[in-house]
């Protein structure tokens, strides 16, 4: 029974830790499926984490915070769009610049507004996303087996967690069952064909980049106002890159993205809870857990276990024929 309780706790923390990864991963999915590489997921999450926490702290409303976070992430998305779509610049370099911009600006503004060494005041009450308890969660928690799963694992998360997981079927439906999704995928594979059909490549790509901004915004807001209570310097801690890794691991597909994010979330949860793991004589150091998402991604990228092929027009600016 004890190990079952531990298991439920680890899985519960897996869901929490997988949520920001999943949101950022789906954000990257829209962008990269439209042919715009985005290694600036990290920066967009970070700036949203700061602005959501800052606005929530000042106004006391977490919903205004969420809006501010999304808006700030959209600004960086627009910058990425202008650089990589309008001016046909290098998308990777633009992403690097965006990460640094967010990393510097957040601390600079935080110091100027709050004078707390680059953090925001702690959030409480209405300034945070509170957990949502499912009906009868309390009553059912005593039921063996089903009870803990229902009341611990499924119930009691903030609304953003449920939004993140609902985004998976939504993304699948948008990509594979709508006209917009078909065009979005086409523009990432063969923009010239989309252009010939009379659909705006630039418009579609900006739309994809904007969706990416919104989702990264939610991811950042989740970090600062739900997972933790306030912004601290560099709080994304590489999550944007883990999300990118998950996206490659999932080979740019929504359902696989969810499983990849849950796997990487599980690794984080295990690393948080157990530190060094003793497997009957062989000790797995905590650093292996830290490095595992990246190692797995390199293995997948290398194509030894099923090759990851990115959208064909990814990273290429589109030049309209004259």
């Amino acid at each position: 029974m004890d190990s079952f309780v531990t298991l439920i706790q680890v899985l519960d923390s897996t869901v929490r830790l997988a949520t920001p990864l999943l949101l950022a991963c789906l954000a990257g999915l829209y962008s990269e499926r439209a042919g715009i590489f985005d290694i600036g997921l990290e920066g967009k999450m970070l700036i949203s984490a700061f602005f959501s926490a800052a606005v929530a702290a000042v106004t006391g409303s977490v919903w205004l915070g969420l809006l501010a976070g999304i808006a700030s992430s959209l600004v960086l998305s627009a910058l990425h769009g202008v650089a990589s779509i309008t001016f046909r610049g290098n998308q990777l370099i633009s992403g690097v610049a965006i990460n640094f911009l967010a990393s510097g600006l957040t601390v600079l503004i935080a110091q100027s507004w709050f004078q707390q060494g680059g953090r925001t005041p702690s959030l409480f009450g209405q300034g945070r996303f509170e957990p949502i308890n499912f009906p009868f969660a309390e009553a059912l928690s005593e039921v063996p087996f089903i009870g803990p799963i229902y009341s611990e694992l499924l119930s009691g998360h903030s609304i953003l967690v449920y939004i993140a997981f609902l985004m998976v079927p939504a993304t699948w439906w948008i990509l594979y069952r709508t006209r917009f999704g078909l065009r979005l995928r086409a523009v990432g594979e063969n923009p010239a064909a989309v252009d010939t059909a009379g659909v705006s490549v630039v418009g579609l790509r900006f739309a994809a980049v904007a969706i990416c901004g919104v989702l990264c915004g939610i991811a950042g807001a989740y970090l600062a106002t739900a997972l933790q209570a306030g912004f601290v310097k560099e709080m994304t801690a590489g999550r944007g890159f883990i999300a990118l890794a998950a996206l490659i691991f999932a080979k740019w597909r929504p359902w696989h993205a969810m499983w990849a994010c849950l796997l990487f979330g599980l690794l984080q949860a295990i690393a948080l809870r157990f530190q060094n793991i003793d497997l009957g004589g062989i000790v797995i150091p905590v650093q292996v857990m830290d490095a595992l998402p990246y190692i797995l991604t390199v293995v997948i990228l290398a194509g030894f276990v099923g090759k990851a092929v990115p959208p064909r027009a990814g990273g290429e600016p589109y030049v309209k024929e004259r």
Partner: protein
């Protein structure tokens, strides 16, 4: 026909980009309620107003020269090596092993051996992404990013579990023996009555970095290999027609790049800290990207850009000391430089090209 004279491409565009970045940075400083003119004054006196300031400026510049050259060499083969940070971390490991486990009679021999160790470790860390790019087509940007994180975890493991001296809580190696301490600028340039560069970390590796700039210049523009690297960077199909193997060039260019990034460790690990600590690279691998973009991938440009960033880093530290502007201002400036010289290059270039075309038409 060229749309623009070469000097405009090499000099004018970086300067305009820099001016744009400066204007935006000044606006940022204004926005947080500080005076940009005063800030610049403080930075100049702090970084360049004394030999102490210069000692720090040149120390940072040495790091950035190595990482900037690393990114630049890869750029010539049209490879984007974001992994300079991880390669420099591994270089640090190489230096630490050479300095700790082998007794050296004199620093000069130790410097050569440590440099080799650093370069070999850095190159080895670049070798796997290079091989995967060349043979399996895995995108080198993604693999080098992943290798940065793997390097951080690996270094953490080595420092916490393997190389930490017994009884120490600090995740760092033991101090290097006295014999391998590199001469600092203070010991090299001070006279009996006049102490120069007091306490500043600039050391002899600054000159190694300058030699590296010269060697890279000769390599890229004066050797067959350099020609092949540039040819491959310009056109892969063209290079293949000329009998140049893409696999070979990709791997060699990345090995050189990783080796240069690793070499940085003789400055920050052997020259300054004199032991290996966590996060010894302090993001210098990433600044190399800004330095290479700004320097247009030319060793002399890298040299100048590295000096500029050295000045920014030391100036930024002084700003943080005397005003309420945090050091992160430098990260913002760095981001703006990368943005304007890299991603928004066309925004500066397109109007300039039009201008030059218009000027050329007029005389006829």
């Amino acid at each position: 026909m060229e749309k623009m004279p070469k000097w405009a491409d090499v000099v004018l565009i970086p300067i305009i980009s820099l001016v744009l970045a400066t204007i935006l940075s000044a606006l940022v400083i204004l926005a947080i309620g500080e005076n940009p003119v005063e800030a610049v004054n403080l930075m100049v006196t702090g970084a360049l107003g004394s030999t102490y300031g210069w000692g720090y400026t040149l120390y940072y510049a040495t790091n950035f020269m190595f990482t900037g050259l690393a990114v630049a060499v890869a750029f010539h083969a049209r490879l984007f090596n974001i992994g300079g940070e991880g390669q420099a971390m591994l270089g640090g490991l190489g230096v630490a092993m050479v300095c700790l486990y082998i007794p050296w009679p004199h620093w000069s021999i130790a410097l050569i051996a440590a440099g080799l160790g650093a370069a070999v470790f850095g190159a080895a860390w670049a070798a796997i992404p290079a091989y995967l790019q060349a043979k399996r087509g895995s995108h080198i940007v993604i693999t080098t990013i992943m290798f940065n994180f793997i390097a951080a975890a690996f270094l953490n493991y080595m420092l916490v579990n393997v190389m930490r001296p017994q009884g120490s809580q600090d995740p760092a190696t033991a101090r290097f023996p006295e014999a391998v301490h590199l001469p600092t600028f203070q010991s090299m340039f001070s006279t009996a009555e006049n102490v120069m560069f007091r306490g500043a970390p600039a050391n002899i590796s600054f000159f190694v970095a300058i030699i590296a700039c010269l060697v890279v210049w000769a390599l890229i523009w004066r050797t067959r290999l350099g020609y092949e690297i540039r040819a491959y960077g310009h056109s892969e199909t063209g290079a293949v027609y000329a009998g140049i193997s893409p696999v070979r060039i990709t791997i060699i260019a990345m090995l050189i790049s990783g080796g240069l990034a690793g070499l940085m460790a003789i400055n920050n690990v052997m020259g300054e800290a004199e032991r290996l600590v966590l996060n010894s690279t302090e993001g210098a691998g990433f600044i190399g990207i800004a330095v290479a973009l700004m320097g247009r991938s030319h060793p002399f440009g890298v040299f100048l850009a590295a000096l500029l960033f050295g000045f920014l880093y030391q100036g930024g530290a002084e700003l943080a000391l005397w005003t309420s502007i945090p050091r992160e201002l430098i990260v913002v400036i760095q981001a703006l430089v990368i943005l304007f010289t890299g991603a928004l290059d066309n925004m500066v270039r397109m109007p300039l090209e039009k201008l030059f075309l218009a000027l050329r038409k007029e005389p006829q």
